[in-house]
């Protein structure tokens, strides 16, 4: 339990509303997803640990970026009396615009609950989103030094069904069946 809490605290979600970062991933508590708190009894229910993965992202509308870039380009050209900006200057200008906007736009939080049955060594993650599942695998390994094995038809058949070694060999050589004659 101490290892779990330490891993959660070390990789807890941090707020990026006043930070130029556009995305952050971290753990949060199930009961208080906006004020992560891993102390107390809320983390452990029966033989399960329950907490959540939170992914905060800033979505800056493309048209706002385009407008700010155009305004900033006009200001620079007027100040310098030049007619064009170099490719490098345009790139730098766009990066500065995005960075400035990132400080003004709040991040949108997305919360995905996780139920870890520690007796069965089984994690139930309540999202099918590819990005959320990939972030989960990465953060889980980083936090707890454990590798999650995703269950899908092949891994379920190979690991969960209790096939003999001979049957597992057959499994690996299977090819699709044609049901129409």
């Amino acid at each position: 339990m101490e290892t779990l809490v330490a891993g959660l605290k070390k990789n807890a979600i941090r707020e990026i509303d006043e930070d130029p970062a556009d995305k952050v991933v971290g753990w949060t508590s199930f009961e208080k997803p906006y004020q992560p708190d891993f102390e107390g009894n809320s983390l452990s229910i029966g033989t399960h640990w329950i907490f959540s993965l939170r992914i905060d992202k800033k979505k800056i509308p493309l048209k706002v970026v385009q407008k700010m870039c155009a305004q900033e380009t006009f200001r620079k050209l007027t100040e310098s009396g030049r007619e064009f900006l170099s490719r490098n200057e345009k790139k730098l200008l766009r990066e500065n615009v995005i960075s400035t906007l990132s400080l003004r736009i709040p991040a949108t939080p997305n919360i995905y609950d996780l139920i870890w049955n520690y007796e069965d060594a089984c994690v139930l993650f309540l999202s099918n989103l590819k990005e959320a599942n990939e972030e989960l695998e990465t953060l889980f390994a980083k936090s707890f030094k454990l590798t999650l094995i995703r269950l899908f038809p092949f891994t379920m058949a190979d690991l969960n069904v209790g096939l003999t070694d001979a049957d597992r060999d057959v499994l690996s050589t299977l090819t699709p069946t044609r049901f129409n004659e």
Binding site: I45, N128, F152, A157, V161, V170, L174
Partner: protein, 174 residues
């Protein structure tokens, strides 16, 4: 074990064959499901089924939707060589009903609606409510795991091609 992304793609047909076989079992061999879950279980196709027929370079997709939709077009697709890629299922046990979608390639659940539970009025009720939800989730996950295990044991045996596939072909043809 082979790389995860390789095995996901190479063997995704296993999940699609499972859903196709499950449709056959629901229609023609429901006693098998009762043997696997003796607690008076009833399983039925819900309001959506998706089939795909893959040719060399093209994929033909057929979706049947609606609460009382007939599945005849689905059977016709099977005759043409399609397999089930997604399915909405209803699982009933006693007075309780679970409704969910299963996707063939990942066997992931979506839109899972477990039986209704009592509303939470007090903070002290949260723990009990969470445990009840976990129990209800586990119930349907265990059922699908059992049916899938049965399918895989059959799939790696000689009985698959010698007995089960001929029975499925008869069902599809008639």
């Amino acid at each position: 074990m082979i790389d995860v992304s390789v095995s996901y793609n190479r063997y995704k047909f296993l999940g699609e064959e499972f859903l196709t076989w499950l449709w056959f079992v629901i229609e023609k061999d429901h006693t098998l499901l009762n043997e696997l879950d003796p607690d008076g279980v009833q399983v039925a196709i819900g309001n959506r089924i998706v089939l795909e027929n893959r040719h060399k370079d093209t994929v033909e997709s057929i979706t049947i939707k609606g609460d009382d939709a007939g599945l005849e077009e689905g059977v016709i697709s099977l005759r043409k060589g399609a397999v089930v890629t997604e399915m909405n299922l209803s699982y009933k046990s006693g007075d309780h009903q679970w409704v969910f979608n299963l996707k063939g390639e990942s066997l992931s659940f979506s839109g899972l609606k477990p039986p209704e539970t009592a509303p939470i009025d007090r903070k002290e009720d949260i723990e009990g409510a969470v445990l009840e939800k976990i129990f209800l989730f586990d119930r349907v996950f265990s059922f699908v795991d059992k049916v899938f295990a049965n399918f895989i044991n059959l799939r790696v045996s000689n009985a698959w091609l010698e007995r089960e596939v001929p029975r499925m072909r008869v069902w599809i043809a008639t």
